[in-house]
């Protein structure tokens, strides 16, 4: 046990070290640009997962909070005459907070319903906000779009580096929050909601507040990602800041790696975002969508629960069998108990109903 923990810890430190020195090893701007987008998507997918992965409520309108974060930073920089450089990075958390504050009433509305209705309402809210971005011209400049300050002192070779590290900080923050939620009593409540919300309510879990809190936390992270992204691409327009494909990408990443796990969405982003960028370069802007669609189908058909849960389940099964054997061997009375337990229970062993089996395999409650 302690050995595997040590192994895990070393592995994580190694990954962190690679992430930190990456721009030094591969200084080529073409590579670091892809790296910045990858880290941003890893953070967004982790943020999305804190709500959708843990509660089982699949939100498909998180592009709304990405867009709010992007516009919030653009508007702050414009109104306060912030010059290009490091200063706009300091406003990123504020942009995230603005997205989070907007998420309170919007999440409250969407979370009045469950399952498919919830999904539809999140999409509807997203399109309303996209329309507002087009039409609130005084605030957003409409379809003309908005420019962000350009850091003119940063040379071409250096330009990506600050964005990379700021994105990495946001990713680490998102991972820390995700880890804490997963291990806290609060997070256990969210997972209980995912499995059976009414039962969780009947066991004293504050379901309404828990769901909304998770929704707002995830909007905060996605909002910060939107802000960094806006600063990185230098100008924003309603259809790119409020982009429906953002949710397709983030959801696909989480599903590929494993919805509801800490590492899953990150792994999904690390695999998908560079692939997407590569395909865009190779085959052009339009064809990558075909490939994306194909990948979505492959993931849903072949790996419905994602890479991480599939591997973890194999591992825990192995561990459970091993520890059962150990306990049986260790003490006679314990082994008797296990034996009695088995004898009492054996006739109906493994009698999960087909629906439950299916639900478990699907790995979500849409």
């Amino acid at each position: 046990m302690s050995n595997s923990k040590l192994f895990q810890g070393t592995g994580l430190l190694l990954l962190l070290a690679i992430a930190v020195v990456f721009p030094l090893l591969f200084p080529n701007p073409a590579v670091t640009t892809i790296a910045v987008f990858t880290i941003l998507f890893a953070a967004a997918a982790t943020g999305w997962n804190i709500f959708s992965g843990y509660t089982g409520y699949i939100a498909l309108g998180h592009a709304a909070y990405f867009g709010i974060g992007a516009y919030a930073l653009a508007i702050m920089c414009q109104d306060w005459h912030i010059p290009g450089g490091y200063l706009p990075f300091l406003l990123v958390p504020i942009a995230g907070l603005i997205a989070a504050v907007v998420a309170i009433p919007l999440g409250g509305i969407a979370l009045r319903v469950r399952r498919h209705t919830f999904v539809v309402i999140t999409i509807a809210i997203f399109f309303i906000l996209q329309l507002l971005a087009y039409n609130l011209r005084d605030l957003t400049n409409g379809s003309t779009g908005m420019g962000l300050p350009i850091p003119t002192d940063w040379s071409g070779d250096f330009f990506n580096t600050p964005f990379y590290y700021v994105a990495l900080i946001v990713l680490l923050l998102a991972i820390a929050i995700s880890w804490w939620v997963r291990n806290s009593k609060y997070g256990l409540g969210l997972l209980a909601i995912r499995d059976d919300e009414d039962r969780a309510l009947g066991l004293g879990v504050h379901v309404e507040v828990s769901k909304l809190t998770a929704f707002v936390i995830s909007a905060f992270i996605v909002g910060m990602v939107g802000a960094i992204w806006a600063y990185f691409v230098e100008s924003i327009y309603p259809p790119v800041a409020f982009d429906a494909l953002f949710d397709v990408a983030v959801t696909l990443m989480a599903f590929l790696g494993g919805v509801g796990t800490i590492a899953g969405p990150i792994l999904g982003a690390l695999l998908l975002e560079p692939t997407q960028q590569y395909f865009t370069l190779q085959f052009g802007e339009n064809y990558y969508l075909v490939i994306y669609g194909a990948m979505f189908l492959i993931v849903i058909l072949l790996l419905p629960r994602g890479i991480i849960p599939t591997l973890t389940e194999r591992w825990t099964r192995l561990q459970a069998i091993r520890s059962q054997r150990q306990e049986a061997a260790l003490s006679l009375s314990a082994s008797e108990q296990v034996h009695i337990g088995k004898r009492l229970i054996a006739p109906e062993a493994e009698q999960a109903s087909p629906e439950e089996e299916q639900a478990r395999e699907e790995g979500i409650n849409l």
Partner: protein, 243 residues
């Protein structure tokens, strides 16, 4: 003095009166059986008491609290735990994680702490040992057999130390050896002061376990008494065999 008092509760689903001015009273420290033909309103009564359904009229009193139409989480926090006819556990959480869901969260600090904080973990492990599921603690609960799920659901409400436990068909579809094991567990808890209200069709189980039996028919109570009295009551026989 009665601990749980249901007074004149009515509940209709469309034109069907599931509960019709139903009044029952549960004594502190008793094991009360609730029997009656299918559709007589037993599960609806459970749902109304625990806040899963709203009563149309009437009042429910628990100790000093009036809990008519309180939300399920409030009813649970006041000390009424229940199991479901079709066992409801959290299939994708491990057995041990299931045990921790019902731990009371008194403040923000408790909420933000790790779910397996030590003293609670110890209590959860004790209870798993109590229902003989220790060996399966790291297994996803969805992998448990039907009988094991019943035991887990029973144990996971115990962690909150409820004063009253409502069991909805605990012996349904469970083999005889497991039933006697469950009977033992209920007796042990009852000796420690937990009050039980048990819906069950298995008469042998009811007659052996319960010290009082309430009979329901068409949404209301038609008889009450010791198991012997009730089984000799002509009204009860008529309700079961009559229609």
């Amino acid at each position: 003095m009665s601990l749980l008092q249901v007074q004149e509760i009515s509940k209709a689903f469309g034109g069907i009166r599931a509960l019709d001015a139903c009044s029952i009273s549960i004594e502190q420290g008793s094991i009360t059986g609730l029997i009656g033909p299918n559709g007589s309103g037993k599960t609806t009564l459970f749902n109304v008491i625990t806040g899963y359904e709203r009563a149309d009229t009437g009042q429910i009193r628990f100790g000093d609290h009036i809990i008519t139409n309180a939300s399920p989480d409030k009813v649970f926090r006041l000390g009424i735990g229940r199991t479901f006819q079709l066992t409801r556990i959290f299939p994708r959480l491990t057995v041990l994680e299931n045990m921790h869901v019902a731990v009371q969260r008194h403040d923000l600090k408790g909420l933000l702490s790790r779910w397996n904080a030590t003293h609670e973990q110890q209590r959860a492990l004790e209870l798993l040992a109590f229902v003989n599921l220790t060996a399966l603690k790291n297994m996803p609960a969805g992998n448990l057999s039907y009988g094991q799920r019943k035991l887990l659901e029973f144990a996971l409400i115990l962690i909150a130390e409820p004063r009253v436990i409502l069991l909805d068909e605990p012996a349904g579809g469970v083999n005889p050896a497991m039933i006697s094991y469950l009977t033992d567990r209920i007796r042990i808890l009852n000796e420690r002061g937990v009050t039980f209200l048990v819906v069950e069709h298995n008469m042998e189980f009811v007659m052996e376990l319960c010290d009082r039996v309430i009979v329901m028919h068409r949404g209301t109570k038609i008889a009450e008494g010791s198991p012997a009295e009730v089984s000799a009551n002509p009204t009860v026989l008529e309700a079961y065999l009559g229609d």
